[in-house]
Symmetry: C2
Subunit: 260 residues, 2 copies
């Protein structure tokens, strides 16, 4: 089994409110269907979640009553994005089931406190494709906070020990430096946890309530430390996700899980 | 606290696929906001769920692989309806949170097997309005089946012992006989469990994978037996729901909970 995260910057335009990349998502759904392997999907909240979550400072937890409205609104908007994702998957005959984090887990100071794995297990066992996503969630300490798609990837990797964890992003993979700022940046074809430690890739300039590329590298390090291989691949380039899913060679960064 | 079910025949046109009654729902949201009392909401699946669920025979449980597609499609469509309900509630500044049954409970032969009450409790405590709805759900014995809005009302009544349970329907209340077939049918202003036992009200001719009016009366009997008062009120008539919520007199059927 694979776990695959479709990045918010791939399926939405992160700079514009509520802008879904329907063509890209339709192609990715087609590639997933063609690969025909069991997987669990995670998608980012993109412009449906981040802008509102920042406006209402949801990731800092409760500090005023107005935030309840912001929490509810953000939840509703990421659910709308999830409906769009579900409908493109279902058009390609994938039996996709929505599993919204705010309804099956609770955080505690940004970490998982309680989670109902059995509900995900049961859908997987029956042949469904569970689809979870970056969402707001209740938080034991902070009252509420953000459950990012990257956090979900860490949690699912730990629980399911998938064959591979795949991050579908809007660049070709992980670079030796930030490619948007440094012309000498080189794409890493493969990397170890040690290589990632040495990376100077900075958080990109993009305002983001989740953790940006630096956070993603931390997530990948944690997954690699579990012994799981991770692939970072560009979702805007045709057929790359498909090739990654079926094990064919393509442009991407392959991070080797640590041998135990 | 109240629990309120907005019937699928009120918020959708049950005879037409995916037809949401936005004006009615907007008015009901306004009445709920004006009443300003803590409540949990349930809504029916209406034409977003029943037609598909019947086509794929989802309530009979698993018998062919094609049903997985039907289950996923029905889940996605009732989620779309739920998004429409959420957005009308949020326009009226109600902090409504979606709690889809397929993500927080499991059935066993059409009854509740496992349910995560704490997630509902936590949203209520923080001042949110949880919104759950008729949905598909996994079923321990049948693989999957339907979790109707009426079943949710029974479960929430038992767990929360609300001050009142309110059913918002498309007729004025419960009649002495089926008013669509019998011109002598009289609206019952108030009723006891005993009165309901004697009722001859038949299931109306309307095809429905949930239980229709006969099922609703059984649900109300069960709630009354818990000692909880139930009100059946017409959601198509202005201000009636509001009056019920604030305790003013209006046309409806009031079913007295059994004294213990």
């Amino acid at each position: 089994m694979f776990i695959v995260k479709l990045g918010g910057s791939v399926i939405t335009d992160k700079s514009k409110r509520y802008c879904f990349h329907v063509k890209t998502m339709t192609r990715l759904a087609y590639e997933i269907k063609k690969a025909d392997i069991p997987l669990a999907l995670v998608h980012g909240a993109g412009s449906y979640g981040h802008i509102l979550a920042k406006e209402y400072q949801l990731n800092d937890g409760y500090n005023n009553k107005d935030q309840l409205k912001g929490f509810a609104l953000t939840q509703a908007k990421v659910q709308e994005l999830n409906s769009l994702v579900l409908s493109t998957l279902q058009e390609k005959k994938i039996s996709a089931i929505s599993l919204p984090p705010h309804a099956f887990l609770r955080l505690d100071d940004h970490r998982i406190d309680e989670i109902n794995y059995s509900i995900i297990d049961n859908y997987l066992k029956k042949g469904f494709t569970p689809v979870t996503f970056g969402d707001v969630a209740l938080d034991k300490t902070l009252s509420f906070s953000i459950c990012s798609g990257d956090l979900l990837m860490r949690v699912l990797a730990k629980h399911y020990k998938p064959k591979k964890a795949v991050f579908v992003v809007d660049v070709d993979g992980i670079y030796s430096a930030n490619p948007k700022k440094n012309p000498d940046a080189v794409l890493l074809k493969s990397a170890s946890v040690g290589d990632l430690e040495n990376l100077t890739t900075a958080v990109d300039g993009h305002a983001d309530v989740t953790e940006g590329m630096k956070g993603k590298i931390n997530t990948i390090k944690m997954i690699a430390q579990l012994g799981i291989d991770t692939i970072v691949v560009n979702g805007n380039k045709k057929n790359r996700l498909y090739k990654v899913l079926v094990g064919e060679e393509t442009i991407c960064t392959y991070i080797h899980g640590m041998k135990k």
